[in-house]
């Protein structure tokens, strides 16, 4: 892992088009400003992991599952 030390107001670039700025440091919290192209996904880690984990679970669906849920749906 690359480790950099920055002060409030300073920033860094990742490649040519992703810019991260340290906006404010207050106690244990840091406010970051992130400028990135819309094609880049920027998410808090816990949110990213939650969606990724849900996608991984969902990817295991089988044909028989759809037959079963279609039947359950029609019964509702």
């Amino acid at each position: 892992m690359l480790i950099l030390t920055r002060k409030s107001g300073e920033g860094l670039f990742i490649g040519d088009d992703i810019r991260i700025t340290i906006l404010e440091i207050r106690g244990k919290q840091i406010r970051l400003g992130i400028e990135a192209p819309t094609s880049v996904v920027v998410l808090r880690e816990e949110i990213y992991r939650r969606i990724q984990e849900e996608n991984l679970q969902a990817a295991g669906a089988r044909d028989v599952d759809v037959s079963e849920i279609a039947q359950l749906w029609r019964q509702e």
Partner: protein, 159 residues
């Protein structure tokens, strides 16, 4: 089984047809104008971009989102309006701009279902990570909704 043409109004003059393998349907024929490009790809599968939507059961709203870049990768999806009539998370507006959706009817919103093996009654819908598609351009992406009223494990059927 029917692959959904992404834009039924447009009849492409001579779309290329090719055969692809799928886990659930064996080999199927796909026309180039049926392909949906997800960019970025789904979280956890960002390297895969080409998908098709397959209708499976006429009497139920569920669809398969089948990946063309990895034959074993397929998701069960549903239009969230079948689950919540007022599903309208705020990031949809930005997604429409990013995907250059001009008219609301060109926007397709789908949510991914998770079906616990052997417990279909307990299936959940991921309302935090809808897949949005511009039917005109066939470009789409998974957007993230951070709104406490929308769960990533929304129960679809009553317990």
């Amino acid at each position: 089984m029917k692959i959904m043409a992404s834009d039924p109004q447009t009849t492409s003059t001579d779309p290329a047809v090719f055969t692809t393998k799928t886990r659930n349907f064996g080999s199927i024929e796909v026309r180039s104008d049926q392909i949906i490009y997800l960019d970025p790809g789904l979280l956890g599968f960002i390297q895969y971009h080409r998908y098709i939507l397959i209708e499976h059961h006429r009497e139920a709203p569920f669809l398969w989102l089948q990946c063309l870049d990895k034959e074993g990768l397929a998701f069960v999806v549903v239009d969230p309006r079948n689950l919540l009539s007022d599903y309208q998370p705020s990031p949809l507006a930005q997604a429409m701009r990013d995907l250059k959706v001009d008219q609301a009817e060109d926007l397709k919103v789908l949510v991914i279902l998770t079906i616990p093996p052997g417990k279909p009654q307990e299936m959940t819908a991921n309302l935090m990570g809808p897949v949005v598609i511009n039917l005109k351009t066939r470009q789409g992406r998974q957007i993230i909704v951070e709104d406490p009223q929308y769960s990533h494990k929304h129960r679809v059927l009553p317990a």
